[in-house]
């Protein structure tokens, strides 16, 4: 049968393409796929840029750190996978110029460093920076501005580090992995790894941090990561983007979730477009199927022919759509080049396959049921045109579509709570729309007597095409809701980002402030016009046990938990709870808690170690064992850039420890002189420049916001096409009705007014419902997905109702113009 069906399917498909009948089907599918793959390409490129940007914080895609030298076998493994490898060795050492000295973080790197991001250099301390092309040549050193200021050196000075001497050739402004953690806080100095032995600094017992940096193709990186997970020694620690600083992770989490949500919208609009196209395809083929059956074709044969045709249309549309999607995305990237600040990574081809698979999945979900129905068209239709196929069972009619939508939603979000929330919201919204659509039909019937002829014609159209009206109302309502939702959620997200990153956000961290200098130090900052934040004491502590069980004996499923258990933390003690900290369990320290052995932990710490309130944690603080009971869990807003800690104790128990203080402050970018003065006045205080990290965070956010806006444009386009496709679906009927009306004496204006009335009514009602739906969904997404407060926006209602009416009326009028323009005689003769 297939052998007979294929030639017929191909021949009629080619003929129908020439005669233009399938153009609407193809257009709908093509644009839908183009929107989908366009979003996919752009999201994948910007997503990759975001990842790369975040990887810059590590100076690599993957970073292995250890306190012992890292074996060369890792280098071999990485190179076998085609990855780049560089090494970075860090240790604290005192740098001398003459009599002046400063404890510094010495970084010795091999050629190729950094693999991601850039080392920024200047010719003078705190001067204008430009990217470095290489690493320091042997015998050269690139110290940070603060180091130069502390020891009164400049470019050209000679410095002594251990047993070796170095010439300062450039000033180090930033290096990408500077902000990965706050562990290395002394000012950095960069030298060539080849010079390290000459310094004779590495001796048995020296505290040295070794890092091996890897970068390359994502699959190769993942492969090495998998291998290293097994092969690395317990003292070696793997770092990738997910274990980067909490600030970056927060931004990327939000960006990823939002982009997923945005692309999901395009997927759903795609499904709606295909459903409409399939419906039209069926309407157009009822007669030919009846005829084929009359001429002897079996039901299976007609179904096979239809399926083959639709499959072919789907494949062709997916191919053209993917190409258009790629072109649209490439064009957009060119247009936005200035905003993108550098080249985006090349697109990967995954969206093409996703486009094809999605097209087929949607086709199967949305086109198969109508095709099954089409194949049941009775042959009798050749004699009686009012005879159509029997209605499908509800399960068969909607089951595949529902399954396809659920599959696609889950596939895109891959998160059960969002999936459930979105699905339930969508189901409720569709049910509400269908109900209101049905009520509308009844309501309009009662309204017809009281309006003019044009309105009566328009409203009668809505009432008479009862099911079609409900379907269109649902489609328009969904489309408008999605557009409103994107505007609402996007604005909420952007405003949340803006709120969380004000322009005077702290840009310097100061640590190692001796307790006796704290007051003078803060006073100094204020006098220089810096905006200071809270100052907190700080000491390093190591978690040694949980509820009496040593952490070394405790397995942790979570890699972060293992990390928390393995390394030292900075801890603090305070009575004040900052506004960027929110208690989510237990209670904050009361006055009578001062002096008690309690600890407040952050949600990250709690989740990674699986802790509950009342758990007893054992710490090693400066060689002394100290036990505290978990009394509260805090959700910390890390991107406030205020001093924040995973572990906070009440004042009292740790007062006697040899802690120092830390604070952060905002210095105007032109205040470099004040900073140099500060370094001289408080030589033991380490200044940590957050500017670079902030620039990186801002850049990540900018890219994410850009992606969202681009996705919004694609979705808007997709929504309009769906809308036009819906209008197109009723064109044939409208043409005939228009001809009949004009034959009966109606002028063009009356018919046009009727069409406008119909679509405006449909649009206003869809817009109203969409505004309700968008407000509810926006509330849900803001509160439960993005964790931002939601404030209802009256514009949603205005834009929904007015915009919906105008949009649907305009699109409807444009799409049906030719209906009115065609001479009635041509239509009535069947032309």
């Amino acid at each position: 049968m297939i052998r007979r069906a294929v030639p017929l399917a191909l021949r009629t498909l080619v003929r129908e393409w020439h005669s233009g009948e399938l153009s609407i089907v193809l257009l709908a599918l093509t644009v839908a796929v183009a929107a989908l793959t366009g979003v996919g390409f752009l999201v994948s490129r910007i997503g990759a840029a975001v990842d790369l940007q975040a990887n810059e914080v590590l100076a690599a895609d993957l970073r292995l750190e250890s306190t012992r030298p890292i074996g060369p076998r890792y280098v071999d493994e990485a190179r076998q996978r085609g990855l780049q490898v560089v090494e970075s060795t860090g240790l604290l050492s005192v740098v001398f110029q003459g009599d002046e000295s400063q404890l510094s973080n010495l970084r010795a790197v091999t050629a190729g460093y950094p693999l991601r991001g850039q080392v920024m250099l200047a010719d003078t301390a705190f001067g204008q920076s430009s990217p470095a092309a290489d690493i320091p040549a042997p015998g050269e050193a690139w110290p940070e501005s603060k180091l130069l200021a502390a020891i009164g050196a400049e470019v050209g000075s000679e410095l002594a580090i251990g047993a070796a001497r170095f010439k300062v050739t450039r000033v180090l402004i930033t290096r990408p992995d500077q902000g990965a953690t706050f562990a290395d806080l002394a000012p950095s100095i960069l030298i060539n790894a080849a010079d390290l032995p000459a310094t004779q600094l590495i001796q048995p017992g020296s505290r040295v941090s070794y890092a091996m940096l890897f970068a390359g193709a994502p699959t190769a990186v993942q492969s090495l990561r998998d291998w290293l997970d097994v092969a690395k020694t317990p003292s070696e620690r793997l770092l990738d983007i997910s274990e980067s600083t909490p600030q970056i992770k927060t931004a990327i989490d939000r960006a990823g979730r939002f982009l997923s949500l945005a692309s999901l919208v395009a997927v759903l609009l795609c499904a709606i477009a295909v459903a409409m196209a399939a419906r039209r395809y069926v309407q157009r083929h009822l007669d030919s199927v009846a005829l084929m059956k009359t001429l002897g074709a079996s039901r299976a044969f007609t179904l096979t022919v239809s399926l083959l045709q639709l499959l072919l249309i789907g494949l062709v549309a997916a191919l053209i759509g993917s190409l258009l999607g790629f072109a649209a995305q490439a064009g957009l990237v060119v247009v936005l080049k200035d905003l993108l600040k550098g080249e985006l990574p090349p697109a990967d081809w995954a969206p093409v396959w996703i486009g094809f698979l999605t097209a087929i999945a949607i086709l199967a979900g949305f086109a198969l049921p109508p095709l099954l129905q089409l194949s049941r068209t009775p042959a009798l239709r050749v004699l009686r045109r009012d005879v159509g196929p029997p209605p499908l069972l509800v399960m068969l009619a909607f089951g595949p579509a529902v399954a396809a939508v659920l599959f696609l939603i889950y596939w895109v979000v891959r998160d059960v709570p969002i999936f459930l929330g979105f699905t339930l919201g969508l189901t409720a919204f569709l049910a509400l729309l269908a109900l209101v659509g049905w009520l509308l039909v009844r309501f309009t019937n009662s309204m017809r007597g009281g309006v003019g002829v044009a309105w009566r014609y328009g409203i009668a159209n809505l009432g008479r095409r009862r099911i079609e009206s409900v379907v269109q109302l649902t489609a328009f309502g969904c489309g408008i809701m999605v557009l409103l939702l994107l505007a609402v959620v996007r604005n909420d997200l952007l405003s949340d980002w803006r709120k969380s990153l004000p322009s005077d956000i702290p840009n310097y961290f100061f640590i190692n402030i001796p307790p006796e200098e704290r007051t003078a130090f803060v006073e100094f900052l204020r006098e220089r016009g810096a905006q200071t934040s809270r100052a907190l004491p700080m000491i390093r502590a190591r978690l040694t046990g949980i509820n009496g069980r040593g952490v070394e004996d405790t397995p942790f499923a979570d890699a972060r938990g293992q990390g928390f258990a393995n390394r030292e933390q900075n801890i603090t003690w305070t009575r004040e709870l900052g506004p960027d900290n929110q208690i989510v369990a237990g209670r904050w320290f009361a006055d009578d808690d001062v002096g008690k052995a309690l600890v407040s932990i952050s949600t990250e710490f709690q989740e990674a170690l699986g802790l509950v309130l009342g758990d007893r944690l054992e710490f090693d603080v400066a060689g002394e064992t100290f036990e505290a009971t978990v009394s509260s869990v805090r959700k910390v807003k890390w991107d406030s850039f205020q001093p924040n800690f995973f572990l906070v104790f009440p004042p009292g128990p740790l007062d006697g420890t040899a802690g120092t203080w830390m604070t952060s402050a905002y210095f105007h970018p032109t205040s470099s002189r004040s900073l140099a003065e500060l370094v001289r006045r408080f030589p033991s205080v380490s200044v940590f420049d957050l500017d670079d990290l902030l620039v990186q965070v801002r850049s990540v956010i900018d890219k994410a916001a850009l992606a969202v806006q681009s996705v919004f444009l694609f979705t808007l386009l997709a929504g309009l096409v769906v809308l036009l496709a819906a209008v197109q679906a009723s064109r044939d009927e409208r043409r005939y009705e228009s001809a009949m009306l004009r034959t009966l004496g109606a002028n063009r204006r009356t018919v046009q007014q009727g069409i406008l009335a119909e679509f405006a009514t449909l649009g206003v009602l869809s817009g109203l419902l969409a505004a309700v739906g968008a407000s509810i969904a926006g509330f849900f997404i803001a509160r439960h997905v993005l964790n931002v407060p939601y404030s209802p926006d009256p514009w949603v209602w205005l834009i929904g109702v007015v915009g919906g009416g105008l949009l649907v009326a305009t699109a409807g009028w444009l799409a049906t113009r030719s209906v009115v323009n065609q001479p009635p005689l041509v239509t009535l003769r069947g032309g």
């Binding site: 021949r11 005669s19 084929m292 001429l295 002897g296 042959a379 009798l380 050749v382 004699l383």
Partner: protein, 229 residues
């Protein structure tokens, strides 16, 4: 002349459900049609002509009674079985031509042969197109053809399988008088030459009189048969 019964209607009844209750469209209709005959089914609008045609051709199923087509009980066959029988034994000509708009004249004629899996579809269709006077129009699409030409394509499509029975439903209904006359002549000529049995539904008495028998329906019942003058 009268030999084998090619089409037999036995107590055919068709009832449908309407808002006013059950409606009987055909009541207890019985007759025999012999191979090579030309039979006109006539009657006023709503008499049940098209319903009878649909039952005879296996396009619809009766509420009671049965149809024997070429010795096969059509009413015992399922939808696909009836389709197969039509492919092998039946041809159709409709008032509104029912051509596939996306296929050329030749491809429309080839269609039933291809559905039957015939490998000689093209030469056979070309030959039939020539017989109906369409040799120069085979590459045209239906919309490029006049009404008369479209009906010639439909006639060629109906005869190309050399069916045992050809059903024609108001074949001249959409044509002007002159064209209609030509089409009718062609139909009868092909009927005579190919010994196909022609069953013609029409309200045109003149046309009916050109057939060898007339079956008249009134209110869903078959009136006593009268000899053709």
């Amino acid at each position: 002349m009268k030999s084998d019964i090619v089409l037999k209607a036995e107590n055919l009844t068709k009832q449908v459900t309407s808002p006013e209750g059950p409606l009987t469209i055909l009541r207890d209709v019985s007759f025999d049609i012999y191979a090579g005959e030309s039979v006109a089914i006539v009657g006023a609008s709503g008499a049940g002509k098209s319903t009878l045609l649909a039952l005879l051709a296996g396009l619809d199923t009766p509420s009671a009674g049965r149809v024997m087509l070429a010795g096969i009980d059509v009413t015992n066959l399922d939808e696909d079985g009836r389709a197969k029988l039509r492919a092998e034994r039946v041809g159709f000509v409709f008032q509104s031509f029912h051509l596939v708009q996306s296929l050329t004249a030749l491809e429309n004629v080839m269609l039933p042969l291809e559905l039957a899996g015939r490998r000689d579809a093209r030469p056979a269709a070309l030959d039939t197109c020539e017989r109906v006077g369409l040799a120069s129009r085979t590459g045209h699409y239906p919309r490029q053809l006049s009404g008369g030409e479209q009906q010639r394509v439909a006639i060629a499509r109906a005869f190309v399988t050399q069916p045992a029975v050809l059903f024609a439903d108001e074949p001249t209904g959409n044509l002007d008088t002159v064209t209609g006359e030509k089409i009718v002549s062609l139909l009868f000529e092909l009927n005579a030459n190919s010994r196909t049995t022609l069953v013609l539904v029409t309200h045109d008495r003149e046309l009916a009189r050109r057939c060898s028998r007339i079956l008249e329906l009134s209110g869903g019942e078959l009136l006593p048969e009268q000899a053709v003058a």
